[in-house]
Structure formats: structure tokens, C-alpha cells
Amino acid sequence: MRLAHAGTALALAVLIALVGLSLRPPAPLPPLGPLLDPVTGAWSVARHAELPRRASAVIPGLTHPVDVRYDDRGVPHIFAVTEPDAVRALGYVVARDRLFQLELQARAGAGRLTEIAGRAALRLDRGMRGLGLPDAARRRLAALPERERRLLDAFTDGVNAWIDNLGRNRPFEYALLGRVPERWAPVNSLHLLGRMGWTLAHSDLEDLHAAVAQAVGARAADALYPIESPVQEPLQPNGERAPRFNHRPLPPPSGALAVRRAEDAAVAQTDSGSIENDAIGSNNWAVAAARSASGHALLAGDQHLELTLPAIWYEVHLVVADSLDVYGVTIPGAPGVLIGFNRDVAWTFTNTEADVMDQYAEVVDNVQSPARYRVDGAWRDLRMETERFLGPRGQLLAVDTIRYTHRGPLRRAADGWRSVRWTVLEAGGDLGAFGRAARATSAAAWLDSMAGYRAPAQNMLVADRRGTIAIRSSGRFPIRPGGRGDLVQRGETSTGDWTGDWSLAELPQASNPAQGYLASANQQPIDPRVNPRYLGANWYSPWRAIRINQLLRADSAATPDAMRRFQTDPGSPAADIFAPAFLAAAARFAQDDTVRRAAALLAQWDRRYTRDNTRAVLYEAALGQLQKLLWDELDGVEPAPGLAVTATLLADSNSVWWDDHRTPQVVEDRDRLLARALALALGQTLRLHGEPDAGGWRWDRIRYANIYHLLRIPSLSALRVPVQGGQSTLNPSSGRGDFGPSWRMVVELGPELRAWGVYPGGQSGNPASSRYLDRLPHWRDGELDTLRFPRAAAELTRYQTSTLQLLPDAAPR
């Protein structure tokens, strides 16, 4: 009897526990029953992991049937009669493969992540809304030209048709979060573009300059984060055959530095410094027909963005009879191809890194709760918008009032209120530009189509079948009456407001240069001696641009395979400068055993970041130590000055900057500091990685790619992926490993265009799919896949794996 009662009590306890965990689990556990349910739970995604051989669906709004053929790489080739129908189909197939990514990215752009993640995302959401991005997207939608609006509506039709057909087959992540997909809205595509603008064109040069000026004085700040890159290798050829190093003495630090330094004497010196600024970026280059082995123009590009699973890009081929035939990658949510090629033209981008965002210190009527701001002696009303942040269950988490001046959003700063003017908030017409460019039949026509493109500014490289290669830094570059944009402007007067934009003719650009090739890698795009007008500051160091130009200069018969190899080239022009400098300095201090041993090890390095290299780690540590020791005056301001600034300082061996103020008993010069950095690096490397030849110094054990799932779940991610390359190489790797080449493409523009490409991950966002990670090995090894570019559906039969018939709602299923 007692046993029976115990059994019943146990059963009751189990039942209550299981039902409780299924209905209201403690955070962060997902609801157990819905998760484990083999029909609708997390497992159910495996049921639809692969595309069926044949499928059909109805999309409301479709005017004609659309034929979609998937090739052996999971790329949909969409054959439609009208462009809106092609875009409807695009929305459908993107949602089919990437629905959760679509929603998450749109929410991120709209500042609505709290509705999924709760309070943990409030800071991020406040950041987006505080910058006015969602507000700008809404206003942009209202002002959208009819044609562009029709395309956004068509894309929306496609996404929502897939959502309506989902039934219980929610993507994995929805089961995990216990949510259902939200219906797509046209504004989401604009949220997504706004988010890209935030990623690519957001800068805080004013804050950086102010912080550095406070530490070492304004003159020194100007020199450490210069408007003119100290190493010039612009994308618009400047007639020079080699990079130009501007060895100007750095002005000494000023202010209260010496007093403060004494307090810092005990600061530990063993951590490596930050070198992140030179670890990310994008590359593109093109070779004219005269310098290619085949006699056809070649184009290559690789955008270095955040590496995620699923990838940021989605590959697609859009065909509309007699009007559009474009292949490339789109960002899920965009209604067309962004980077790719058509039958005649290929194009790719790198980020211009121009300064297109300015801050204005405003005078307001009430510092606690401003309602007006003053300009030219008159008070103006602030535009107020209320932003409500909701939680996962719809509960109100926070309410913010976002204020706007005529310049842009008003934000609280340490010293008052600052408004922001930013080209990304005033963009428009960019979707139409992409649409026209996709139809261009020559490089010149392609650039003409992009003339109206505004933000985020991109170095647009294009090549055509006639052999033309051309590049232009495209976008809206404001003209500042004061000449600079890296200082906070006075908002009280309109004299600091932008007076116009760079004209098309002024933009950095080149077409068919005599050198026979063009390259960009986020460097300062135009030599200030050619055009001194302010375009930005603290430019990326031009090491990648230098390396590309070295490789292209040395190869007068380039092939697509050479272009592919260049994309993961392990050489570093920065190492060619710094490694000899370390060794020369160490020779002066050879009496020190540690310095001597470190130098002997560094001398064994071939200055290449190959995966099996066992000396690159020492150089990297030495460079990190150098940056930390050298810029001690900056009191930890991030980012540290770029390596280009450090490289030019090498010419000034007795500059006061070499002195480490934390060692008041010694005045260091260049060589002493370099030798100390090298010795510290050896200690650090031995401590972290063991003896040099014990296996721990292998480069692929130090640096690797970490490709995280969008929810940063490790088991859904690809972590510690060994890749070739290091900072300042063409395949740069950041310390965290979560940035890198997001889409590598090579195109040969012969009579029949040929193309190759790869991105990390796969077409499917479904972790049970064979296409979730199928491209990773090729991406890791620097290989490219052949891209199928059929003229008609019938040409694809050999490679076809699945078909999808999309039908108008009036047609029989």
C-alpha cells in the first residue's frame, strides 16, 4: 500500500514536472514538450531538410507562372516573365531557405530584437532607434518611387506566401524560441539596408579625436589619426609606381601627460596590444584584357564582413525574358542581386570607409528634457518621436522619446546634446540603381546606372566583355564648410552645415588605367595631392592594397586561378617592414639572452601566414606588444593608431613617442622599444603556446575563423576553422575570428562569361540540411566553386536537383 502511494506520488511528480517544463519552463530553457515534439518541434526541421525533387506553390499577385530550378549547389535559377514576378519568386525562395535570418535581420534593423530576446537586447535596440534608422526606413518607404515600391511589395508577397504555406513546419530557431514567424512587411527590406549602412558607414571619428586630443593634445591627435593616410596607395592611380610613405615627424604629446604617466608606472606590460583595426576589410581588383592570359578582362572580389551561419549572402540567378539575366548574391531581404554579373558586365564592392557622419553640439532650451534647439539665434522645435520597446510576450519594456533636429537624431553626450547628420539616414533611390545596373551592357553603362547611389558608400569595381575595367567610389560624400568632419561641429550656427556633395566627376575613380589593373582594399581612395578635399580620417592601413598591386604588377598574364590564389595570399607588406625592423633593433641588444633568442626565432619566419607556419605567432605577438608599448600615451584609447602611422614613425628613431612613460628611469628610443616588444612577445608566446617546435606555435592553432550561428549557439556554429592569412594579408583574420571573406568571386569576361565563387556556410539555414555547411571546406581551403549560369532552364538539366513551380493564385495547382 505504501509502495503504491509512493509510485503514484512519483508519477504525479513526473507528470507535473514534464507538463510544467513544457508550458512554463524556467529561463533560458525552451518549452520542453513543443521542443521535443517530433511533428512540430525542433526535430521536425529534419523532415524538410532537403528540397523535394518537385514542388509547386501559389503566390498571390503573381501574373505568370515562374519556373525555379535549383542546381547542384542549391542555387535557385528563377525564370520569370516579368520582373515583379521574379522578385516574388525571390522572396519565396529566400524565405524557404532563410526565413529566420530574414526576420532576425529585419528586427535588428528595426530595433525590435527585444521582442525575441527580451531586455538583453534593449541596449542594441535603443542604439538603432536612437540613431534614427527605423524612422528613416519608414520615411524612405513613404517616399519610394512607384517602381521600387512595386518590387518591395512583390518581394513581400513571396515571403508571405512561404510563411502562409509553412503550416507547422517552422524553421528550427522558431521551435527553439517558442515563436511563430512574423509576416514580412515592405519596410523590412529598408530596415535591412539601414542595418547595412550602420555596419558599413557608421563612424565615431569625433569621439575618437576628442578622446585622443584630451590625452595628448589636438595636434598629436591630428597626426595619429590623420586625414591623409601616411602611406599612399590609392585606388585611383596617382601615377606613382610604388606606395608613397610620408615620413613626417609626429608632433610630441602635450598636456597633463607627464603627470598622469607617473601614476601608470605599475601598469602590467604583458598583455598584447590591440591590432584589430588592420585585421578586417574587403578587397577587389580587376585586370585589363591586355594583362590576362586569355585576353579577357578579369574581376575578383571578396567582401570581409561578419561571418555567420547562415551566411550573410544568398546566391541566386534571376532571369526575365529579354530584360534581365543576372547572377550573384543578395542579402536576404533585398529584392535583387547586389554583387554579381550579367551576360556582359561583372561588378563587386569594397567599403569606401569615408566619413559620412557628423556630430553637432547643440544648444537646447532644457538640458534635462529639450523641446527646442537654437540655430543662428532662433529657437527651432525638435521633432519628437516615441519609440516603444516590447518584450517577447508583448509587455512594455521601455519607452524612449527620440528627438530630431533638422540635421538628424539628437543624442545625449557627456558634455550635452549632439545631433547627428548621416548620409545613411538620407539615402534613397539605391534599390532602383541596383535594378538598372543589373541590366547594363557595358562598364560605362553600369557606372551610369549607379550614379544616383548614395549610401553606404562603396568602391564599385566593374569590368565588361569589351575589356573595360573601371572603379568609382560611389555614394554621397558631403562637403563641409570647415573642411573637416572628424571634429564636433557647433550646432548653434548653420555655418557648419553641409554645403553640398562631391560631384560625380570629383569622386575617386579610374577607367582603363595605363597600368592595366585596378584594386581597392578600403584604403584612402584618392591621393590628397590629387584631391585634397576632406573625405575621411584614420584610414585603414593600405597593406592589402599594396599587396594586391604587388601581385598584379608581377603577373602580366593573369588567370582566373591566379586571382583565386591571390584571395588567400599569405604575404604581408606590413611584415616586410616590421620584421626587419625588429631584427635590426634586436641586433643592437644582442647581449640580452631573451632578445637574442626571440630574434633568432623571428629570423626563421618567411613572413607568410600559412596554416602550418610556426613563427608568425611570434611576429604577431611582437607587433601587439609594440603597439601597446608605443602608444602608452593614449591611455588605452581604442583603436590604437594604425600600423601605417607606426610604420612611418620607424624613420624617426628618436621620436619622443618611442619613450615608454611607464619606465621613468629610462628614455627609450625606437630600437630599445622594438627589442623590448620582441622580448615580451617571446615570453608571452612561450607562456601561451609552449616551446617553439612543440606544435603549439602552428598558425592554425592560433588564428582561425569562428563562424557563429545567428543565435550564437556553438553546436550550430563552425568554430576554430583553420584558415590561411593574418592581419594585413589579403585574407585577414581578426582576433575573434568572426570577420572574414563573406563572398569570394572571380569572373572572366570572355565571349561566354565564366565565374567562380564561394561563401562560408551553405544556401540553407536549416541545420539538418546537407546545404547548411556544404561550402565550408572549399571556403576554408581557398577554393572556388564553378557558378552555373544557364541561358535557359533546359541548359541546367544536367546539374538540376530540384524544381519549384510557382503559380498565380487563379491557376489550378
Partner: protein, 115 residues
């Protein structure tokens, strides 16, 4: 045995058309009606969810997903594969046992402890 298979079919159908909660409800109703030992409901639960996993989902996809899903809960892939049948077992058994004993007590009897 036939009765267990029949119950498994009912539980599978209930899950397919209703959801996870069909398992405890169907097991409870079966228990109140048939008054068989509750372990039989547990076995039926295991069979039903095991079959739903094994028969309706392609095996390669299942094996690809298992370690990824298991990683979320810190379990190996094979353990993750066992979780749904185990969950259904416990859910069906506990619901059947509680309802059977309640019915017995309400009629003046007592549980016999055989589970």
C-alpha cells in the same frame, strides 16, 4: 501487445494532429478506460514518438541534426535522439499511472504498485 501498438498508433496520430499534449491526455483516457498497467502506456509512448522520428524523418538529416541539437543542451547526439521517446515514455506512463490510481481510489480500491 496489439493493444500497446494500437495505443501507440493513437498517440502518434494525436501528436501528429494535435501536439505533444495529446500523449498525456490519450494515455490518461486509455488508462481510465482499460485500467491496464501504466507501463504499457509508457511503452506505447516510446513506440509512437520513436516511430514518428524514425519513419517520417530522413535518416541522414536526423543524424546531421542530432549532434547540433544535442549541443544546445550539452548532450551527445545519440542522447538527443533518445530524448523524444524517453519524454513520451515518462509523459504517457505518469499520466496513465496517476489517472488509473485516482480512478481506483475513487471507486474505493487501492493502487497495486505494479507501475
Amino acid at each position: 501487445m496489439m493493444e500497446i501498438l494500437l495505443l501507440a498508433l493513437v498517440l502518434a496520430a494525436g501528436t501528429w494532429f494535435g501536439g505533444w499534449w495529446a500523449v498525456p491526455i490519450a494515455a490518461a483516457i486509455w488508462s481510465a478506460w482499460r485500467r491496464h498497467p501504466a507501463w504499457r502506456a509508457g511503452v506505447a509512448g516510446t513506440i509512437s514518438w520513436g516511430a514518428l522520428l524514425g519513419l517520417t524523418i530522413p535518416t541522414p538529416a536526423l543524424w546531421r541534426l542530432a549532434p547540433r541539437l544535442g549541443g544546445i543542451l550539452g548532450l551527445p547526439g545519440w542522447a538527443m535522439l533518445l530524448m523524444p521517446p524517453l519524454f513520451a515514455l515518462l509523459l504517457a506512463w505518469s499520466a496513465a499511472r496517476v489517472v488509473r490510481d485516482v480512478v481506483r481510489w475513487s471507486r474505493g480500491g487501492s493502487g497495486d504498485g505494479e507501475g
